[in-house]
Amino acid sequence: MSFLNLSPAEFLALAASAAAFLVALYLLDRSRRRQTVATFRFWTASALIPHWKRRRWIQQPWSLLLQIASVLLLLTAVAGLRWGSPEAAARDHVIVLDASAWMAARGRSGALLDEAKAAAVSYVRALPSSDRVMLIRADALATPVTGFLNDRGAIFEAIRKTQAGATALRLEDALQVARQAQRLEGRSAGSIVYAGAGRVSKEESTWASVPGGLRVLPVSDPPVNCGLRGLSLRRAEGDPASWEIFVTARNYGRARCDAPLTVQFGGALIGAHRFLLAPGEESSATFRYRTRTAGWIEARLRVDDALETDNHAEIEVPAQPALQVLVYSEEPELLRHVLEASPSVQAVFASPKNYDPGKKAAVVVLDRFRPSGLPQADTVWIEPPPGASPFQVRTSVKAARVERWHAENPLGAGLATRDLRLEETQVFEPAPGDLVVADCAEGPVIVARPGARRAVALGFHPGRGSTRFELATPLLFANLIAWLAPDVFRQWDFASASAGMVTATMDPAMDPGAARVVGRGGRPLPFTVEDGSLRFFAATTGSVQILGGNRAKVLSVNLPDVAGARWEPPPGTPRGLPGSPGPHRSAPSLWPLAAVLGALGLCFEWMRFGPRRRLTPEPEKGAS
């Protein structure tokens, strides 16, 4: 016999308290009441005084005993009195259902997840109806799906709705969550049942300090599986239109794997490779493809193995448009060399006579002429006639010399030439908010004006005279273009990654303080930077951008995170479904009987010793 909710000491303490309370109530009920009356005439006249006896503390012992017994019976009902050992008491079980990416693999009879679901359902069916069950869905995160429920229908529905995720299993975390849930509930802890394949990281595969009461419901382990581990792109050095493509594959199975790989761009085959991988081996292949257009680069392993989702990866490649620069100049040759040096800039030269302020271009260069109207784009003014540009010309000087470059703003970054001589230059009167890029003795010779329409004014022509041969000239134009159109020089890297904890190597040129990680829809993701690596958690597939300065990295999180090792439970850990339900399955609960007896006892006491019958004096013989 056991009490489900209370230990024997707790029950005895509670019973003693209840009995004491009842006795106190009894004595209080039977205590002498004080009443003020108008006269004693009728009290004495009714011949009651002879009936008064010496007061006894317990006048109706059977009533008191019956009340105490009834309340104790009700107390035992509340305590859940049950025949059998304490193990027969209702317990709280936790089902940890593996929903990692690997559970989508095909097993002997359908997906591994379906096998795990069937095992979990069988286990829950084998439990006594009084036991409560909690379901935890485990992948990289341990997600409690239900609380501790007796409702088997809700548990089965939660199991049925479980889908394989994209991340790898973190079994240790999941089992700790299960144990913590049992502790918080504070009731009799049942088993923690893990249903899954046990695919974990290599570090976790040797984990042996499992919580007590663990039971494992294993599923089949497919022998063959090869999968892509990564797909990444980057611009080829020296040829911005070319992409270098890297594909990595791994053999997760126990048998040797022969996996043909095809790489396509927009459906067109651009390369093929054949991986011959030993069990656990990982190998890479490199491809090169030249294109400026946008499209999808797709890598596919042509194998028929257990897990299909890791046989395919793709990355969206954006178009690489060139910066359209429209130059109005009578001497285009003076500027051609500085504008066509970058493959990312496409310069179009036109005569000032053909000036059209509405003509579309990203940047308009106006070389020494007065336009009929301001262009609708960012503008570079070269020796603007006084009053023709938004910049005010203070004076013109000859034989000037650039004495200072303002490296504190991006236009003067990297420029330190001190011997730049200018045969003739204009000196500007900067407006408030203007950025001064270079000064001569008389004043600013290069100024820039930020705003919605950015503008830069050069007081001298960079293609004339000795400045044409100065190193500062192309650097200055590079800074101008980078300031006017920052995206032109941003370097993009593309890579595929697996869901879960993603670790990306940061470009050394990327400022960790300025780094941002942006997920789907521009949503910022939390991340950490440590030892040149940037880490963040991606629970779902999608595209994630890592931005920092003029560097950008796009991660296509479309590969499932398949753990490479298999966890084996320590020896002695129960496996599979339990045997017979055990003797406690038929152990009857006594609380309904105790409740009924307690209620009947109280009713009988009330009828027999109730207020109408309480303390009725029995008339003595001879009294009238």
């Binding site: 039977r30 205590s31 004080r34 009443q35 108008a38 009728f42 009936h51 008064w52 007061r55």
Partner: protein
């Protein structure tokens, strides 16, 4: 004690058509609306009789003397102001019970005073416990009701009931005979019937209004009781139950019947009123039934 007004306007309107009634003829002064069968100074002719020594010569019928040569006296019928007195029990026993008999008695006294006021009767209200308290006269018409109510409201319960002392004090005052209304619970540990009979024997017409609370007649308690006497402070321990309750109630009823029979034998009237009965019901019920008001 209740803080609500002891009498309200709606109730007063219902009392407009009532008047106090007594059965015996009382000699009295002119005034009031109660017709008396006693001769005396008045305006309305009643009878003739022979002149006796000591009669008022102004009442001699001189026309009859000239015709008959005999002194014939004209007698006139008076509408006398019969002395109406109201003894109001303010002992501590009146304040016991869930519904205070003291409050009920004051409301009932106010109602009877109002009935007297609208008929131009003069009612002397005198509280008592073991002695007579200061009397106050209630007369002069309905506009004097407020003063009466104020005097009644100012009363406080206290003291021990002693009818022997009160009757002795009342009799020694030599007051003229009249209607004597006694509002009380009549719970005197000594005998109260004999003093009341003495009052009736001395010519007063008694109207006993017996008030009791429900717990006075049927105590609701069970079990062991420690009773405290409201007036004496004595204590009594007792077991009490349904059968004892029945015996108690029977004793109470027996005593009330004894009181009623004693009064009826002496020409008085008795009205037993529980405090659970509204005052309006008491006026138009038990009091009207015994002819106290009409």
């Amino acid at each position: 004690m209740s803080s609500q007004p002891i009498i309200d306007r709606d109730f007063l309107e219902k009392l407009e058509r009532l008047s106090l009634h007594w059965q015996q003829p009382f000699g009295g002064l002119v005034g009031g609306h109660q017709r008396s069968r006693s001769p005396g100074p008045g305006q309305e002719f009643l009878d003739h009789r022979h002149f006796h020594h000591g009669d008022d010569p102004r009442a001699v019928n001189w026309r009859a003397y000239l015709r008959l040569e005999k002194l014939i006296l004209k007698m006139f019928q008076v509408e006398p102001r019969v002395p109406v007195r109201m003894l109001l029990d303010v002992s501590r026993s009146m304040a016991t019970g869930a519904s205070s008999k003291f409050d009920y008695a004051r409301r009932l006294a106010a109602a009877l005073c109002y009935i007297g006021l609208i008929r131009l009767d003069a009612i002397t209200v005198q509280p008592f416990s073991d002695r007579l308290g200061d009397p106050f006269l209630c007369s002069g018409g309905r506009q004097r009701l407020a003063e009466t109510v104020n005097r009644l409201t100012a009363l406080t319960p206290g003291g021990r009931t002693s009818y022997q002392k009160v009757v002795r004090e009342f009799s020694s005052a030599g007051l003229p005979r009249g209607l004597l209304i006694v509002i009380s619970d009549f719970l005197d540990e000594d005998d109260c019937i004999r003093p009341l009979q003495y009052l009736a024997d001395s010519g007063h017409e008694l109207l006993l209004i017996h008030l009791w609370a429900e717990e006075d007649r049927t105590p609701p308690w069970d079990g062991e009781l420690e009773l405290a006497h409201a007036e004496t402070g004595e204590r009594l321990e007792i077991d009490f139950g349904p059968e004892a309750r029945e015996a108690y109630t029977a004793a109470f009823d027996r005593w009330a019947r004894t009181l009623q029979e004693a009064m009826v034998r002496k020409g008085g009237r008795y009205a037993g009123i529980p405090t659970s009965m509204p005052v309006e019901t008491a006026i138009f019920g038990p009091l009207a039934a015994v002819g106290a008001v009409e």
